[in-house]
């Protein structure tokens, strides 16, 4: 098949149960928040048409179950991902401590061709809760973690109030495109790289 400009961007949202993965996705795509989302079983995704630098993309956002016990399903759902969004709850230290696990598990199961440069974005969600008084993970601590993992972009969000959600996803789109090979951009009729190999770009940050 001839290589064309890529129009589908696949993004995976990972993080502990109850940090707000489904809510973030729904706030971004449908501009809605509900207290009554059910725990995600298996996986689901929503799509949204996005424009980036005069190009149109279909952003496919995958929402997965947060319990570690279901991680073995990842193999089927993570493949072909262009960006991984890690989410924690700023009011839960455990959800922050688990970020390393989620990141590593993703890299194992998705096995991207260039794991060192695979784009991640970190979201600290639920900043609205209790006016910020129940917060246990500081912005400084989160940013230090991001710095230690190769400058992962970081956003503090509230899926409930819609704070920073749009900004975060714009960055996610940008990062999902980060590793797009140059030739795919400018030489639409060249032969596809064997194995669909992509992810040879340099690292960068929003």
């Amino acid at each position: 098949m001839a290589s064309r400009r890529r129009t589908l961007l696949k993004v995976i949202i990972l993080g502990d149960s109850g940090v707000g993965k489904t809510s973030l996705m729904n706030q971004y795509v449908n501009k809605k928040f509900s207290n009554q989302y059910k725990a995600t079983i298996g996986a689901d995704f929503l799509t949204k048409e996005v424009q980036f630098e005069d190009r149109l993309f279909t952003l496919q956002i995958w929402d997965t179950a947060g319990q570690e016990r279901f991680q073995s399903l990842g193999v089927a759902f993570y493949r072909g991902a262009d960006c991984c969004v890690l989410v924690y709850d700023v009011n839960s230290m455990k959800s922050f401590d688990n970020l390393n696990n989620w990141r590593e598990e993703f890299l194992i199961q998705a096995s991207p061709s260039d794991p060192d440069n695979f784009p991640f974005v970190l979201l600290g969600n639920k900043v609205d809760v209790d006016g910020g008084n129940s917060r246990v993970v500081s912005e400084k601590k989160a940013k230090a973690w991001c710095a230690s993992k190769g400058n992962i972009p970081y956003f503090e969000t509230s899926a409930k109030d819609g704070i920073n959600v749009e900004e975060a996803f714009q960055c996610i789109v940008k990062n999902a495109l980060k590793n797009e090979p140059e030739e795919e951009l400018y030489m639409p009729d060249t032969v596809d790289v064997v194995g669909g190999n992509r992810g040879q770009g340099s690292s960068g940050c929003c």
């Binding site: 149960s17 725990a39 079983i41 298996g42 689901d44 995704f45 319990q67 279901f70 073995s72 455990k94």
Partner: protein, 314 residues
């Protein structure tokens, strides 16, 4: 009591809601079919005491003790998060500070002590909510749920072996009952059947209304045609949509989305009729597709306990 005749009646007609509270106890093997009224009353009293004893094990954990008991805090935290998002649109569970939500929580935490190896896993609250709604009694709901987990514990095991066995069985059934659909799935890298994961894990709980699911579950729990009737339901529904799946050339992602969006769209009576017909057509060959010990068959016991878990159980 003639259990076969009763199960046949339930399979073909369900149970009037006022009778569910009694009938489900038999279907879930909490009560024996050949027990007497006196035996059942005695059992209920004994089991109530036993339940209270297990519940007191965690109720008596002090705040300072809990600080040093990470696994307890984490499990309880996970349960707390899930019960407030389980069937909250059903009047029995709706509204702030609903006491029934607390009972749901207490039963699940108690179960995670009763079966510490299996613990709590997402999806369990989906099973418990209708059971508690029907039983209207904490202890009886607990024991019915515990009985159900004897059969479905494999769905929630860390190694997911019960789920893999069922999805493999489903794959073999489709191969037997619809070879061309099977070929389509094979060619499109869909043979892991993960797109049916939610159907199988919580037995269609998210696909039907609360009232419909009570009916479907009692049909499944009769084990009248097969213990694995739910897998024939999967095959039947997939066959109903085979022309669209193949015609639209659905890949794995599209198929998953399509299946998820069937929620609320499936005609329950037709689905049960289709599954019954498929079960009859498949006969012995169908039963042979499903490995022994596949949930909800009773698990094959090993020396190491039923729910071998790695250390980092949650």
């Amino acid at each position: 009591m003639d259990s076969k005749a009763l199960r046949k009646k339930i399979f073909y007609g369900g149970v009037d809601h006022v009778l569910r509270k009694e009938v489900w106890k038999f279907l879930l093997s909490y009560h024996e079919y050949d027990s007497t009224q006196a035996e059942r009353e005695y059992l209920a009293a004994m089991k109530r005491e036993e339940y209270e004893a297990i519940k007191s094990q965690w109720k008596s954990i002090s705040t300072t003790q809990a600080k040093r008991f990470t696994k307890f805090r984490e499990r309880k935290g996970l349960i707390d998060k899930d019960v407030v998002r389980t069937d909250r649109s059903v009047p029995y569970y709706e509204g702030d500070d609903n006491p029934n939500v607390i009972v749901l929580r207490d039963i699940l935490v108690t179960y995670s002590f009763y079966n510490f190896d299996l613990g709590y896993c997402q999806g369990m609250s989906d099973f418990l909510a209708p059971i508690l709604y029907v039983m209207e009694d904490e202890s009886e709901a607990f024991w019915c749920f515990a009985s159900l987990m004897e059969r479905l514990g494999g769905n929630f095991n860390r190694d997911q072996n019960g789920m893999h066995a069922q999805l493999l069985g489903l794959s073999k059934l489709v191969e037997l009952l619809d070879p061309s659909l099977h070929n389509y799935f094979r060619q499109n890298d869909c043979l892991n059947y993960f797109f049916c994961f939610r159907w199988v894990l919580i037995q269609f709980k998210r696909e039907f209304s609360f009232d419909q699911i009570m009916l479907l579950w009692e049909v499944l729990w009769t084990h009248y045609f097969s213990e694995h009737f739910h897998l024939y339901l999967c095959v039947g529904i997939l066959k109903r949509y085979r022309l669209r799946i193949i015609g639209e050339g659905m890949d794995f992602d599209t198929l998953l989305k399509f299946i998820n969006e069937l929620s609320g769209q499936i005609n329950i009576d037709r689905a049960i009729q289709d599954a019954e017909a498929l079960c009859t057509i498949a006969g012995e060959a169908g039963a042979d597709c499903i490995p022994p010990g596949t949930p909800p068959s009773m698990p094959i016991e090993t020396d190491g306990g039923l729910y071998l878990q790695e250390d980092d159980v949650l």
